[in-house]
Every structure is written in structure tokens, then in C-alpha cells.
């Protein structure tokens, strides 16, 4: 080989190399361009619509005027309840996978497989599961048991439960990752000082993994806030006079509100400004949540 290899390569080959890199770069920046274009469209068209009255008012005139307050509040209730239901389960699973499980054991492998499978199940299937299991089976079962009639229909609680199941893999993966960043030395030092394994986990490992649990929750909330397909028949409603006052009531949701405005409304063009503004709020919300999670995570990785 000649010492200066680059000059020995014939021109067509050098051109080929140039194009090979150019194509890869174009692909990357095309994707970035689309993202910027999308965000730009919404900011440009919806920016002026996002006002305090828009955020704080009820929709009027069958969703053609007014604000998005009940959708915003409903989404918040939904993700809060979802976090309460899902994050403890996800955290416990992650603790098991990272602290207790022998990695080659049959049970640990099954749990891992189940988590990965769960992450790949289409969200609409979770919606069907919500109907079949939570509403029809659990809800009707509770009604039959208590003699009530409030659980056997789609409602806030069942939608939250469905989303908790849907976001379980997000929480598990994120918490497990953060548990793995806790140095082995800390665990061994704690055990060597005479602490039991349980004490080590609760007093040493978990406090160091709090950021991970936080990241997992934030990511799950981001996912849950934007998810429509999974809750579309499990309790979401397109219009409501008041905020839900009990977990067995139906609720409005930002994403579903946008879906209804843009596809089911009798006069879609008239509500276009509302649609853009709603999109901007929804996107801004999920964007902020995901950005926070990514920032926390990258700080965590550097540690």
C-alpha cells in the first residue's frame, strides 16, 4: 500500500465515498428537518391561539369555541392516577430484575421477555384489553360484588389502569437502567457492614436510583399524555360539562380532543385554529416531559 492511500483512490471511487457520506448525512438531516417543520408548523399556526383563556375555559358551542381546560385537567388526572398505579409495579419489577434475579434463571428471562413483548404490543390492543379485562370483567365484577353500577363502564380509573399497563415497560427499562448505574461497591460495602440485602436495597440502592424512577415516571407520563388509541373506548369522552369528580366518571383528554376536533367535527375548517392550539399544547407538554427525561438520563449516564 502506498503511504498516501487517499490519493491513490481513483476519482470515481472518491466520488462514491463522498456520496456515501452525503446520503447518510442527508437522511439524518432530512429527519431533523421534518421534526423542525412539524414543530414549526404548530408553533406558527397555533402559537397565537394558546392564551390563558384558551387553557382555562371550557369548550363551548359543541367544541367549536372556547378552551381546553377539561381536557387538560382530565389528562392530568389520568396520568397522575396512571403513575400511582403503574410506577410502583414497574419499580418493583426493575428491582427484581436488577437486584434479585439470577440473570439466567427461567423466571427472570420470562419476565424480560414479557416486558419486551409488552413494549411491542400495539396500543389499540391495550385498548381492547382495557375493554375486555378492566371494564367488562373487573368493572362488572366489582359492580356485581358491591351492587353498584358505576364501575362497569369506561371511566377514569380503567383508562388509567390501561395506560399503567401500557407504560409498564417504559418504567421498568428506565428504572432498571438507573439501578445498574449504582456502583457494585456501594452494595458490597453495605452488605459487608452487616446490612441485610433488603436494607441494602431500600437504604443504599434505591436512594441512588431515585432519579431513574423519576425519569421512568416522566417518560411514562409523556407517553400516557399523548396516547389516544388505548383509551379511546375505555372512558374518554368528547365533551363534558364538568371536571370528573370521581374515578368512575368519564373524562376529556387532550389527544382525544384533538382527534375529535380534527376528524369528527361537523365544521373542521372553522375549528382549525383550535386544533393547532390544542396540538401545540399537547406537543409542548410531551416535548417538555421527554426533554426533561432525556436530560436527566444523559446526566445519569455520564456519572
Amino acid at each position: 500500500m502506498m503511504p498516501n492511500a487517499a490519493h491513490s483512490v481513483p476519482l470515481p471511487k472518491r466520488l462514491l465515498g463522498f456520496f456515501a457520506v452525503l446520503i447518510a448525512a442527508t437522511a439524518a438531516f432530512a429527519v431533523i428537518g421534518v421534526i423542525l417543520g412539524m414543530v414549526g408548523t404548530f408553533v406558527f399556526n397555533g402559537g397565537s391561539g394558546v392564551t390563558w383563556t384558551f387553557l382555562s375555559e371550557f369548550p363551548r358551542n359543541s367544541n367549536t369555541e372556547g378552551g381546553i381546560w377539561p381536557a387538560l385537567a382530565g389528562t392530568t388526572f389520568l396520568v397522575l392516577l396512571m403513575t400511582i398505579l403503574g410506577v410502583p409495579i414497574g419499580t418493583a419489577t426493575a428491582i427484581y430484575l436488577s437486584e434479585f434475579a439470577r440473570q439466567d434463571s427461567w423466571f427472570a428471562r420470562s419476565v424480560r421477555f414479557a416486558v419486551n413483548t409488552l413494549a411491542g404490543v400495539p396500543s389499540i390492543v391495550f385498548g381492547l384489553f382495557g375493554v375486555g379485562f378492566f371494564v367488562q370483567f373487573m368493572g362488572s365484577g366489582i359492580d356485581g360484588f358491591l351492587g353498584t353500577s358505576s364501575f362497569g363502564d369506561g371511566s377514569l380509573i380503567w383508562a388509567s389502569a390501561t395506560l399503567a399497563v401500557l407504560t409498564l415497560p417504559v418504567v421498568i427499562v428506565s428504572v432498571e437502567e438507573s439501578l445498574r448505574t449504582v456502583p457494585r461497591d456501594l452494595r458490597e460495602a453495605s452488605l459487608a457492614l452487616g446490612a441485610t440485602r433488603w436494607q441494602t436495597i431500600t437504604k443504599v440502592v434505591l436512594p441512588n436510583a431515585v432519579t431513574g424512577i423519576l425519569t421512568g415516571s416522566i417518560l411514562a407520563v409523556g407517553r400516557g399524555a399523548g396516547e389516544v388509541a388505548a383509551i379511546i373506548f375505555v372512558g374518554v369522552t368528547y365533551s363534558s360539562e364538568s371536571l370528573p369528580s370521581a374515578v368512575t366518571e368519564k373524562f376529556m383528554h387532550l389527544g382525544y380532543h384533538l382527534f375529535v376536533l380534527s376528524t369528527q367535527s361537523p365544521d373542521v375548517d372553522k375549528t382549525l385554529p383550535l386544533q393547532y392550539a390544542t396540538t401545540l399544547v399537547l406537543l409542548g407538554l410531551t416535548f417538555l416531559l421527554n426533554l426533561t427525561a432525556i436530560l436527566i438520563r444523559s446526566r445519569l449516564r455520564k456519572r
Binding site: 448525512a25 429527519v31 421534526i35 409495579i89 375486555g132 409498564l168 417518560l219 399523548g226 399537547l282 432525556i294
Partner: protein, 386 residues
């Protein structure tokens, strides 16, 4: 790791706590199992006489449903046809067989594995006196999806075509873009560029699909129509573009993971032999990471065909049996999403929608199993087994 401290379990509280953690950890497995059971169960009301859906323990009035005309089923559900027990089934009625391997846990009246079906399935108004009887298998495999009407037609062929059409378009656009962007980030980009590009594309994964769908509806659709001058504003191309926006971040991050987990020694060896950076990237690293990249594309396929909101909003939603990308399409997921809201719970239509859900679940489960069991093993073997 084995636990040398097991003898320290002097506190019962801790022992209980640890075992409850183990128990909770099985939640994911339980959920997968429950999805199987409950989505299949609702779909199964199609394939068995309603008598067996109603739990025998609950309904004392389980008289043989005379009006339930037994239908001929194809090979798909494989419900046992042999009247095994001396139950009060009408002649020719399909009798549940406990030996049936396909639905062992769903409706087994003997073991009672099926918890009591509390909601009594309302009688289907359409099924009671349909003008023309169409066999279910025949109906499902027909070319017409027309669930509301005198004779409801549940031909899933147009839905399958629509799903395949939009998924193929999404993958044709999304997979190359995702993989090339991953190559760029992994090998060509400067460090500071990578630090921006990578999280930016990963942020796209966090975009709610309803937002992407709306973007397609208002912007991409007009854009495509301006270029092509098509009569339909919403069509499979627009849907495919929308789905590709959901596919790209998945393909990108998994392919990027795979590319950067190829051992550095391969990279260095290739450069040392005199090949350039791009030759190394395209001809050494990409083939070496092929199983991982393949997994990325498979998961992208899973995302594209299961995506609901983008498909509802951007494809035009017409169940046509046409492979033309310029005509509207309707996917399986979009059908469930748009019709489940109006359907009478327990009706035949309801059962068919759940059957479509079963299809989605089985395919996504299969795709995931392939990536988990086959691809990852290949990938690990390639770099650690040698």
C-alpha cells in the same frame, strides 16, 4: 448472582417484602397472559355458540339456544367439532372440547378457568334474523368490509391489503432513512453534531401519534396532493409517510445501538487494511451489525402495522381491495379504533373487531419473539461466541 447472604433472613418482614417484589415482578407475565385470555375471549364469541360464553355457573337459564344456527368454520379457529360430552347441545352444535389446544384457558367449563362472565352478552339484533346467512369464514375472507347494514359483511381482506400497503410504504421510507441516519450518527458525524442529532431524532419517538396524524392530515396531505395532483387528499401514501415518522425513531435508535455495539477492533482492522471510513461503515460495520439492523426493521414493521391514530387520520379510511398506493386504505388497527366506539358490546361486529385485535396481538407477539429469540442470539453469538 448467587446469594451468600440468604442465611441473614432472620426478619420475617424482609422475607415477605422480597417475595412480594418477586410476585409483583411477575405482573408483566400476568398481563401478557391476561391480554391473551381476554382479547381472545371476546373474539371467541364469534366462533362458539353463545351458550358457552355465558358461564354455566352463572346463568341458570342456559337453555339450548335454538336460534343459534351453527355455522361452518374454517381451519382458523379450529374449534373442536366432535360432540364429546353428552351436553344439551343442539345437533351439529359445536361443543367445547377441553382437549382443544387452541383455547385451553379461555372457556373451559370443567376446570372453571374462565371466571364467570358477568356481563350477559346481549342478543345480537342482526344475527337474530339475518335475511341471508353467510358462513362466518366465508364472510371473514370475503372482499367487502361493510359492518353496518342489512347483511353485515366482515371481509377482512381489504383491511389486510390496506395494512400491508401502508406498512410497506412506511418501511420503504422509514427503514432506509432510519438506518442511514444511524450510520451517519455512529460513524460520520462530528461529536457535537451527534450530541444534537441523536436526542433530536429520539425526541420524535415521544411525539404523540395523534399529533403526527394531525400533521399528516393538515400539512402532508396538502403537500402530497400539490405534488401529485391526486383526486384523494388522504391516501395510502400520506398514511405511509405518517407511519414512517413513527417508524424512523425506532429503526434509528435500535440500528444505532447495533452499529455502535460492533466491536471497535473490526473498525480499526478495516481502517488498518487501508479502507476508507465510508467503506468501513458500509461494508464492514453495517454487515456486522446486520442482525441488529434487521431487528430494528422488524420492530419498525410492528410499530407501523399496529399504529392506530396516524392510520385513522391520514389514510382516508376506505376499505378498498386495491393495492394502489394512490388510493385510500384502511388498516386493521384503524378499523378497530374507529368502529369500536359505536359497536354494540357483545354483537358479532364486536367479536370481529376483537378478532382483528387478536390478529394484531399475534403478529406483534411473533415479531417480538423473532427479534428476541433469533436475532439477539445471532447477534450475541457473532461477537461473543468466537
Amino acid at each position: 448472582m448467587s446469594n451468600p447472604f440468604r442465611s441473614k433472613h432472620t426478619h420475617w418482614g424482609e422475607w415477605i417484602a422480597e417475595w412480594s417484589i418477586r410476585l409483583v415482578a411477575s405482573a408483566s407475565i400476568v398481563v401478557i397472559f391476561l391480554i391473551f385470555v381476554f382479547v381472545f375471549r371476546e373474539a371467541s364469541s364469534l366462533f362458539i355458540p353463545k351458550k358457552f360464553v355465558e358461564a354455566p355457573s352463572l346463568s341458570a337459564t342456559s337453555s339450548p339456544n335454538a336460534e343459534m344456527v351453527p355455522e361452518t368454520y374454517g381451519e382458523e379457529p379450529a374449534v373442536a367439532e366432535t360432540p364429546t360430552s353428552g351436553e344439551e347441545g343442539a345437533p351439529g352444535q359445536f361443543i367445547y372440547s377441553p382437549k382443544n389446544p387452541h383455547y385451553p384457558e379461555i372457556y373451559n367449563p370443567d376446570t372453571g378457568l374462565l371466571p364467570a362472565d358477568i356481563d350477559v352478552v346481549p342478543a345480537d339484533p342482526e344475527a337474530e334474523a339475518p335475511p341471508v346467512q353467510i358462513g362466518l369464514t366465508e364472510n371473514l375472507t370475503s372482499n367487502v368490509w361493510q359492518p353496518v347494514g342489512e347483511v353485515p359483511k366482515f371481509g377482512i381482506i381489504p383491511l389486510l391489503i390496506g395494512t400491508a400497503k401502508t406498512t410497506i410504504i412506511a418501511i420503504l421510507i422509514g427503514a432506509p432513512l432510519g438506518i442511514l441516519a444511524a450510520l451517519y450518527v455512529a460513524f460520520f458525524a462530528k461529536r457535537w453534531v451527534r450530541e444534537i442529532v441523536k436526542p433530536a431524532i429520539e425526541l420524535l419517538a415521544g411525539f404523540p401519534s395523534v399529533v403526527i396524524g394531525f400533521f399528516c392530515l393538515v400539512t402532508v396531505a396538502s403537500f402530497v396532493q400539490d405534488i401529485t395532483g391526486l383526486p384523494y387528499r388522504l391516501n395510502a401514501i400520506v398514511g405511509g409517510i405518517g407511519l414512517s415518522l413513527a417508524v424512523i425513531p425506532i429503526v434509528f435508535s435500535i440500528a444505532e445501538d447495533a452499529l455502535s455495539s460492533v466491536p471497535k477492533s473490526l473498525h480499526e482492522a478495516s481502517l488498518a487494511l487501508g479502507s476508507t471510513e465510508w467503506q468501513t461503515a458500509y461494508r464492514v460495520m453495517l454487515p456486522a451489525a446486520a442482525p441488529g439492523v434487521f431487528a430494528a426493521v422488524l420492530l419498525g414493521v410492528g410499530r407501523a402495522f399496529g399504529e392506530t391514530m396516524i392510520a385513522i387520520m391520514a389514510t382516508g379510511n376506505a376499505p378498498l381491495s386495491s393495492w394502489s398506493p394512490f388510493e385510500p386504505a384502511r388498516t386493521v388497527a384503524a378499523t378497530i379504533g374507529s368502529e369500536m366506539g359505536e359497536v354494540v358490546w357483545g354483537s358479532e361486529h364486536y367479536g370481529v373487531l376483537f378478532f382483528l385485535g387478536v390478529l394484531l396481538f399475534v403478529v406483534s407477539f411473533g415479531l417480538n419473539a423473532i427479534t428476541e429469540l433469533y436475532v439477539k442470539k445471532r447477534f450475541i453469538k457473532r461477537f461473543q461466541g468466537q
